[in-house]
Amino acid sequence: MSHPALSIPAFAVPHAITPLLEVQDLQVHFGSKPAVRGISFTVHEGETLALVGESGSGKSMTALSVMGLLPDGGRASGTIRFAGRDTSTLSPAARRALRGGEIGMIFQEPMTSLNPVMTIGAQIVEALRQHQPLSRTAAKARALELIDLVRIPDPKRRFQDYPHQLSGGMRQRVMIAMAVACGPRLLIADEPTTALDVTIQAQVLELLDRLRRDLSMAVLLITHDLGVVGQWADRVAVMYAGRKVEEGDPSALFALPLHPYTQGLLRASPRLDDAQHYTQGPLTEIPGSIASAAGQDGCAFAPRCPQAVAACRAAVPSLRILESGRKVACPLAHQD
């Protein structure tokens, strides 16, 4: 499943023609402060792209830009195409039809993302009826199916429940049910398991993986957990301080990370490949903090990079495409 080609359903259009989602040179600013500094990537029909990076690297702002839901004060520039259409040219109504209709999104914060004074049933029904001409009873029946689909036991009873009656994992399942309610072509999952217990995390990820196959959705999976990427993604893009620094096939990337930041991230990740990390001493964190990237000329990672040389601070390294298809934004990185 780590080959993109294999995850494309037989009936899907060959992806070489038009990517489902195409982001070009996306920049997000809060006032003069940059949050995303020119990122480009594509997601093909049926494909799972993982966007990885530590906290503050701009993953959520990238995802919210795609939805057109940046928080107040955030300004985006660049181009976002969905199914070939430039989203900035769409009317407000057409954008709304996209949101929740063709693109579903689940958020990082399951505890606060549901309306506390509406039953979860009503919240799912609301998502359904916004995009589909369903009668009340039909919508309710469909909502019950969805609750069952996300493996919440006793759907009839749960339909009447309010969010505070559910655990975090259950609430995230409700969010998933809402996001996939109208059969979106793209699901954006922004750290869907970060706020959950470790035991629940795997269940929710498995659910997402099953759903994306059953509903043949493409997934933009945002995470800072590399273990998640290895298991579920077809392709992975690593972000640092608002830019993409490396991109490639997950197994190849984990076997041989080329960018010094990816290398550091892998060393700091406890759950990868074998058990040796658990036994071999403490985790190595990447020294320094992402805050050092602010106002940094040239490579944003330079203040924390063990291999940095003077030239690194002169210009922002461009993203090179290597023979293997790997993309990396570091002039010193090379494939042996």
Partner: protein, 332 residues
């Protein structure tokens, strides 16, 4: 809905259990406090009528039970209360109950209307201010709210009378209906309403100011919540998001505060009813203070505290209906 009935019943039960001791406490405390005030109704009557003979005064006191020791007066009063009897008005020489019942509808009408008007106007203005946050409309309304919050209601009442009755002559300056005017029917109702405009406005402005500010803040807070972002992610229209997701949550604090204010409005009626000569409990309270008619005052006190208790219970139940998290046992 059915699943929530036990929870609502529990809320109502709690409110009832709290109510009884509170009411009894208020009566006893009020009784002793009023006993401390100098003079009694008979002194006042005697002063007004240019002096009563000692015998006549003693007879009046005896008739009203004012010559008994304090504790037996209290015992008699409580015994009467247990039978639904609020005692005898020494000043008007009628049962307190009938005196109060005669004035109660006027007060309820005034404060009830004021409450509804304040809540509606406050919510609308607050929502407008939040929608235009930072604009001149928002700032202007904020200043106006601050102004009406700090102006005393008697001053507002007098200014309204000066402007709308005396200068413009649009509205009557006092009373509750035109003498010899239309009775009953639509015409009677409209006549009544004309007399209510100024008192209701005087009573409401202060509360409108509070509610507008409260709702403004609550709306600004609510619309920044994660669930509003979720609603947008579903593709809902802005008006639907406003009504179903933002307003519903932002109005929760308003129901609590407005419910607690019902008592304050009944109390605020003292000033407004007196200024406008409105036949309500407030003016009766004022008259009975002047006349040292403490039984009447005590009766009003008891009734108002009961009204406040009932209002609070209703608020608790309303909140339970609006907010599913209220009244959930902590074990859940």
């Amino acid at each position: 809905m059915k699943r929530h009935l036990p929870r609502l019943a529990r809320i109502a039960g709690h409110a009832g259990l709290r109510a009884l001791p509170t009411a009894i406490g208020i009566v006893i405390l009020g009784f002793f406090l009023l006993q401390q005030a100098p003079g009694d109704a008979v002194d006042v009557l005697s002063g007004e009528s240019g002096g009563l003979s000692t015998e006549a005064a003693a007879a009046l006191r005896h008739h009203a039970g004012l010559d008994q020791p304090v504790l037996s007066q209290l015992a008699a009063y409580l015994t009467g209360l247990a039978h639904g009897d609020l005692g005898w008005s020494a000043r008007f020489n009628v049962p307190v109950t009938s005196l109060i019942l005669q004035r109660l509808p006027g007060s309820l009408l005034l404060s009830g209307t004021a409450l509804v008007v304040s809540v509606l106007a406050g919510a609308a203005l607050g929502a407008l201010m939040a929608a235009r946050e930072g604009s001149w409309a928002d700032r202007g309304l904020s200043v106006a709210a601050l102004l009406f919050y700090s102006l005393p209601s008697f001053w507002i009442s007098l200014m309204l009378i000066v402007v709308f009755s005396i200068h413009l002559g649009w509205l009557p300056s006092g009373g509750s209906q035109t003498i010899g005017g239309p009775e009953g029917g639509l015409a009677g109702l409209l006549d009544h309403a004309r007399y209510m405009v100024l008192p209701v406005t005087s009573l409401s402005l202060f509360y409108i100011a509070i509610y507008a500010r409260l709702v403004r803040v609550a709306m600004i807070e609510a619309r920044a919540q994660d669930y509003v972002r979720t609603a947008r992610a579903k593709g809902l229209s802005e008006s639907r998001i406003l009504i179903r997701h933002i307003l519903r949550n932002a109005l929760l604090p308003l129901t609590t505060v407005a419910g607690m204010h019902l008592g304050g409005m009944l109390g605020g009626g003292v000033v407004v009813e007196t200024v406008y000569g409105w036949p309500g409990l407030g003016r009766l309270a004022y008259e009975s203070v002047i006349g040292r008619d403490f039984r009447v005052l005590l009766g009003i006190l008891l009734l108002s505290s009961l009204l406040v208790i009932v209002a609070n219970a209703l608020v608790d139940i309303l909140q339970g209906l609006l907010d599913p998290r209220v009244g959930v046992s902590h074990a859940a």
